[in-house]
């Protein structure tokens, strides 16, 4: 452990300079991507660039400003604006994904705790846990819908289960590693206090595993959104982003920017989940700077 006295800013103290620098960087990166997109489109259209079957035109690659502009157009004749439709769809998918995230994270964590206490179980079960992730989600999703359908549960719950299926795996693998990362002398110390397994788990192993857990939750935060969107398709749920993607896919010929705009909203939802995990980590994990993942 480094023995350097470090002054840290207070937990909620705001340092404006770095914040402004980061905002500036975000704007610059966004502007750069926009410029690249438009430059690629312009070069492609003026030179008639062909990449196999792919030609660049307004249908295959709409203007970014058209995509964003589409958000503020009516979604259908006399209907609400597209952004309102997508906002509702995003909230619906967010609910499915959030339930899936908590379900998956809890199961993943519990599995890690069980496996951390038994080498035998670890040898026996870990291969199957790994194998579970090699089965494509598209093959699992319809089965989950069939199993859970018609049991009086809301339809969207099977979507959450599919999202949980993608969430639990990184959590199990990383938490297991984290639980085993406790300093051996710290374990001796706990033994000298005659601490039982339960105490050692909650006072030492779990706190030691938190940086690993949060690294996993960041991966899961985006994976659960993907799981929820894909899960909506076999569940025939129309109210979420998956339904919207399917819908706008059908009308792609007449309005390409609508599908692009939907993808943009899905990406924004993923980023929101990710940032929520980052915020939770900042509030929960109090570790030496060199121990934060």
């Amino acid at each position: 452990m480094a023995s350097v006295a470090v002054e840290r800013p207070s937990r909620f103290g705001i340092a404006w300079r770095p914040l402004l620098q980061r905002a500036g960087l975000t704007v610059a990166v966004f502007g750069g991507l926009w410029a690249f997109w438009e430059a690629f489109k312009w070069v492609g259209e003026t030179t008639g660039l062909k990449l196999g079957q792919f030609t660049v035109n307004d249908r295959t690659l709409p203007h970014l400003h058209d995509i964003i502009g589409q958000l503020f157009e009516p979604s259908r004749r006399n209907g609400p604006l597209l952004i309102e439709v997508l906002w509702d769809a995003a909230l619906f998918t967010a609910k499915e994904a959030a339930v899936g995230f908590f379900l998956g994270a809890s199961i993943g964590f519990a599995l890690a705790v069980i496996l951390a206490h038994s080498r035998l179980l670890q040898r026996g079960f870990l291969p199957y846990i790994v194998a579970s992730q090699t089965v494509p989600i598209l093959a699992i999703a319809p089965m989950v819908v069939i199993w859970l359908g018609g049991r009086g549960l809301p339809d969207w719950l099977s979507v959450s289960v599919i999202a949980a299926y993608l969430t639990f795996f990184p959590v199990t693998i990383n938490t297991l590693r984290g639980l085993e990362s406790a300093d051996p002398r710290a374990l001796e110390l706990m033994r000298s206090y005659a601490a039982n397994r339960w105490r050692i788990l909650w006072k030492l192993r779990v706190p030691a595993s938190l940086p690993f857990l949060f690294a996993a939750l960041k991966v899961s935060a985006t994976a659960c959104i993907v799981g929820a969107i894909i899960g909506e398709l076999p569940a025939s749920i129309q109210s979420g982003l998956g339904g919207a993607i399917l819908n706008f896919n059908q009308y792609y010929a007449s309005s390409p920017p609508s599908l692009w705009a939907t993808n943009l909203v899905a990406a924004a939802l993923g980023i929101t989940f990710f940032l929520a995990v980052v915020l939770a980590e900042k509030l929960v994990v109090r570790r030496a700077p060199e121990n934060v993942a």
């Binding site: 480094a2 023995s3 710290a186 001796e188 000298s192 005659a194 006072k203 109090r286 030496a288 700077p289």
Partner: protein, 267 residues
């Protein structure tokens, strides 16, 4: 009654493997300060862990506070301090010190009061809400000592607690440790590889040799109490340092004048 009693203790790592300890016989009485000294590989840390029931001897009898080592551990009869402070970096200084008290089921108010006393004892008042990584190595080790003392165990086991610190900090903490030992009246078993540290602190120094680890001699330290910075400058201090040094080299009791001069520097 002995606080620690070891009878013919053997420790072998692996079947037919390295013999870490052989035929260890040692009695440590109440209020004694006993140092175990020897080169690396002599099994001094292993012996300390056997007393603490953190590892089991292959054979022999270990009695701590009149009971088996295991029972003594379960009764929380000892506190332990390692070479590194081994603080939980997600806990503040105060919460690190009160960790054993949480295990004992003390309520928050009682814990808070005890932590205040201990912070005063190790001279860290005002640092209770710091995190370990905000402290120097010497301060971290003082927190670790406060944690070991928090539940007032009759026995303190220390495994090279000042080995990673610089000479100045080490000498200051030596004096502080003696003050604490005097104030609390506990028994201390102290592992070190510094001769001058062992002589300065102890009432008895147990000299060990490696391969196989065994006790080759015990030196009674008859320096007057309380010991101060001046103790290190007394002729008797140098004689005792030389005595321990000779035993470490297997030279017996003869003294050599030239060795006396360099003896002060430690091993």
């Amino acid at each position: 009654m002995s606080v620690v009693s070891l009878k013919d203790v053997h420790k072998e790592f692996g079947k037919g493997g390295v013999i870490a300890l052989q035929g260890i016989e040692l009695e440590i009485g109440e209020r004694e300060f006993v140092s175990l000294i020897g080169p690396s590989g002599c099994g001094k840390s292993t012996l300390l862990r056997i007393v603490g029931d953190l590892i089991q001897p292959t054979s022999g009898k270990v009695v701590v506070n009149g009971k088996s080592a295991r029972q003594a551990r379960e009764d929380r009869d000892y506190g332990i301090v390692f070479q590194d402070a081994v603080l939980f970096d997600w806990r503040t200084v105060a919460k690190n010190i009160s960790l054993p008290l949480e295990m004992l089921g003390w309520d928050r108010r009682r814990r808070g009061e005890r932590v205040k006393e201990l912070l005063r004892l190790v001279e860290l008042d005002g640092f209770e809400s710091h995190h370990p990584w905000q402290l120097s190595g010497g301060m971290q080790q003082r927190v670790s000592i406060a944690r070991a003392l928090s539940f007032s165990p009759p026995l303190l086991l220390m495994d090279e607690p000042f080995g990673a610190l610089d000479e100045m900090t080490r000498e200051r903490l030596n004096i502080e440790l003696l003050r604490i030992w005097d104030a609390l009246g506990s028994t201390i078993v102290f592992v070190t590889h510094s001769i001058s540290e062992a002589v300065f602190l102890s009432t008895r120094v147990v000299v060990m040799s490696p391969r196989p680890g065994q006790i080759t001699g015990v030196v009674d330290i008859d320096l007057p109490q309380p010991r101060t910075a001046e103790t290190r400058e007394q002729p008797r201090f140098f004689e005792l340092v030389a005595d321990v040094r000779h035993r470490l080299r297997g030279l017996g009791d003869e003294l050599d004048e030239t060795e006396l001069i360099v003896a002060e520097e430690g091993l």
